[in-house]
Amino acid sequence: MTARLAANYPYVFAVVLFVIGVHTLLAHANLLKKIIGLNIAGTAVFLYFIAMGNVRGRLEPLVDPAHPHAEFVNPVPSALILTGIVVAVSVTAFALSLVLKLYRHYGTLDAEEIVRLRSILDEDH
């Protein structure tokens, strides 16, 4: 069991990271930390993909005329993750802009504080 875990250490890391990320996203009240958590979770998945594509002892996926039948690592997950990263960047940027907007409205990044402030503001209306 331990040996298998050690052999698959990237996956173990990915899972641990994922859990950390999701926990940060869900448990922290600070909006910035939530976004960071989201990114950690995302990165964990990226790590998972990259680890999946890697095959120990194989070459990088470049066609080299010198070795026409060389065995490569799987390049597809890396390519996918590039897209994933771009997506994550966009989402993060968007989320940050919203956080900024909220900060300007409420003067805090604390989600619970925002809910409290909002209920007060709503009563005023």
């Binding site: 996203l25 998945v45 897209t83 997506v87 989402v91 409420y106």
Partner: protein
Amino acid sequence: MRITDHFPLTIVVGTLLGAYLSPIVGHVRRRWLPPFAVGVTLLALIQAIQLNIRVRDCGELTYQLGGWPAPWGIELLVGPAAALMVLVLAAISTLIAVYCMAYIDHEVAPHAQSWYYAAFLLLLAGMLGMAVTNDLFNTFVMMEITTIGACALVAAKDSRRAAEAALRYLLLASLASTLILLGIGMIYMITGNLNLTYLTRELETVWRQYPRLATTSLGLLTLGFALKAALFPLHVWLPEAHSAAPTPSSAMLSGLVVKIYAFSLIKMNYVVFRPILGIVAPLRELLILLSAAAIIGGSLFALVQDDIKRLLAYSTVAQVGYIFLGAGLGTPSAVMAAFFQIISHSIMKTCLFLSAGIIAERTGRRKIALMDGMGRVLPLTSAAFTVAALSMIGLPLLSGFIAKWHLFLGGLEAERPVFIGLILMSGLLNAAYYLPVIWRFYFVEPQVCPVIHGDPAGDAGALGAPGSWPPPGIRRRILSRLEAPLPMLLPVVALALACIVLGVWTGPTIAHLAGVAQTIIGGPGR
């Protein structure tokens, strides 16, 4: 290749281009934006109709991007189900775009409008892409486009409520995306394929080696899609997002976005992961239980709302439960009911949101307690709202009833009559929160004569802003006799009529959906 051969692609790419072009169009002349958006959606609609005809006549259509054959290249596949979904998406969003022509100034600031339309079309493109793609990773990308577009549509309204709702929506939807991506990774790991057809084929043999990975993958995908489609305990983001957004966005979100995720979930569960359908029965059982909770819980929450848009949002939570219930039961009639509900609820909910929007725009009222006498002030709008609401309740000869009826039959086929009682109860709960609104419309005298929303531009109300369409001369003549600008009234009335037509003349739809259900679950259609 003829141009029509490219339609599975161009319907997505064209809309995407429209999204990217709209900032430019808006920059050149803001007045051109609304008709431009309508044009783009209309183009998508035409292609969707053509696709449906093609699929009906020639069966499934495939399209290989770049000409790379299937397991390597990205493949688009338009089967009966996808064609139908595309049609619903294009048709409803065309109507919403038409509605926007007159409405947009009311809730979206002028400088944000070009971005609003960009997000609108981006969202549509993402959903269309999700419907037609036959590639798992491509589904993810399109889903992310959808998510960002949807959140942008919520955030477009410059209010703190909208920003907060959008952020919460974005965070949870992204979490869902991450889960889905993880699921994609797992299934790719064991099958080595991203093309859904090949993936399914591979899974047939390989799942025995990795049963846990396969089921975990499906579980993650289901959880992710359920979170995005707001299945009951995961719905927390929905009411606020759907009610704080500008009305056309609410209609788009409640009417379409939720559906495309539900559609994807059905596709994943029944088509892609069909080989392991047997061993994930507990998952489906959970889905059924949660949808039952959604049907009742959503309605109960809706009962206590005092804001009409929040009421409609909670009602969506309940109605989405029907889709999942149908999907979970998994008999031919139940799956058919799920699809019928996708169509029917898109129409009903869009109609409800848009008419609530007219009421808000004309009278400035959103609280249900202030809806007194609306039937006199805005007769057509109220009538449309009433038709759609009655359809929600499930009165016969309206589309909502047909969905419920087939769900009943599905419950019988699955031999789980308890859900029949559940749906009936939900119908009564629907009545309990929709009928008081209708009652206020027609049987309570307006306490204070509602003020028609004044706009500096004059008699055309909010439409009268200098940059709107069509030109003022014609507009004034037509509109002086109408309760609301024609572009707003037209979609609402059309949707209400669609509710009736779909409820009265169901033969062709049912026949088509029977075929769809058959392709989905592989069983004999009814």
